[in-house]
């Protein structure tokens, strides 16, 4: 009885099966250098507050996530991207 009860309460999480698999776009398309001057491209890796998206959302490999974050920080320093924003993307 105890065994059966346990099984009933267990919720299977099958959501991930329907989602397309995430991949690192830099590895896939062979981009080696991420330019800090290209604001439109870097916009893909920040949310509407201007925060850098985590790897679990962007799907980047660690190597390229590091490069992305460095490029974004350079862009912020040069006022190409904001440090703090509100409604950056609408």
């Amino acid at each position: 009885m105890a065994k059966g009860g346990k099984k009933k309460n267990f919720v299977f999480n099958n959501r991930h099966k329907n989602m397309p698999k995430k991949y690192c776009r830099f590895k896939k398309s062979g981009i080696k250098y991420i330019d800090y001057k290209d604001a439109d491209f870097l916009m893909k890796f920040i949310n509407d507050q201007g925060k850098i998206l985590p790897r679990r959302l962007s799907g980047n490999s660690l190597k390229y996530q590091r490069k992305v974050s460095i490029s974004i920080k350079r862009a912020r320093h040069m006022a190409i991207l904001p440090f703090v924003a509100d409604g950056l993307k609408d």
């Binding site: 250098y33 330019d35 001057k37 350079r74 040069m78």
Partner: protein, 124 residues
């Protein structure tokens, strides 16, 4: 002597007139060439809006230098930019081989507005 490739991005104040801006750019160009450097490429964005205010200015003149110079010069170049009141913000970067390749392609206009059209042709 060993040389490296560098990229410098400078934001000049919007207060400068056109001739003053040209003069300011010229001083840095001459500073590089006077120290046995060679300028590979230059890019200017003109008066551009800043993402946030710097020294109470909301816009600035962006200018990019790409040059080849010995590493000893960079420190002096840095100090010169730091002292200059016409400069709001600057950054000095050493370029690796991937960055060089990228800049070469950028110079040829591969990443400009034709980028989207190129992407479409690449996928089809």
């Amino acid at each position: 002597m060993e040389t490296n490739n560098y990229e410098a991005a400078v934001i000049f104040t919007p207060v400068l007139s056109e001739t003053q801006l040209k003069e300011a750019v010229k001083t840095y160009r001459e500073l590089i060439t006077a120290n046995k450097g060679t300028i590979v490429n230059e890019e200017s964005w003109g008066l551009t809006k800043l993402a946030y205010n710097i020294q109470k200015k909301s816009s600035g003149f962006y200018h990019f230098f790409e040059f080849n110079v010995s590493p000893d010069f960079i420190k002096a170049f840095d100090i010169q930019l730091r002292r200059d009141e016409r400069v709001l913000r600057f950054i000095n970067l050493k370029l690796d081989k991937h960055a060089l390749l990228y800049n070469e392609r950028r110079k040829n206009g591969e990443f400009s507005k034709a980028k989207k059209a190129q992407k479409q042709t690449a996928t089809t």
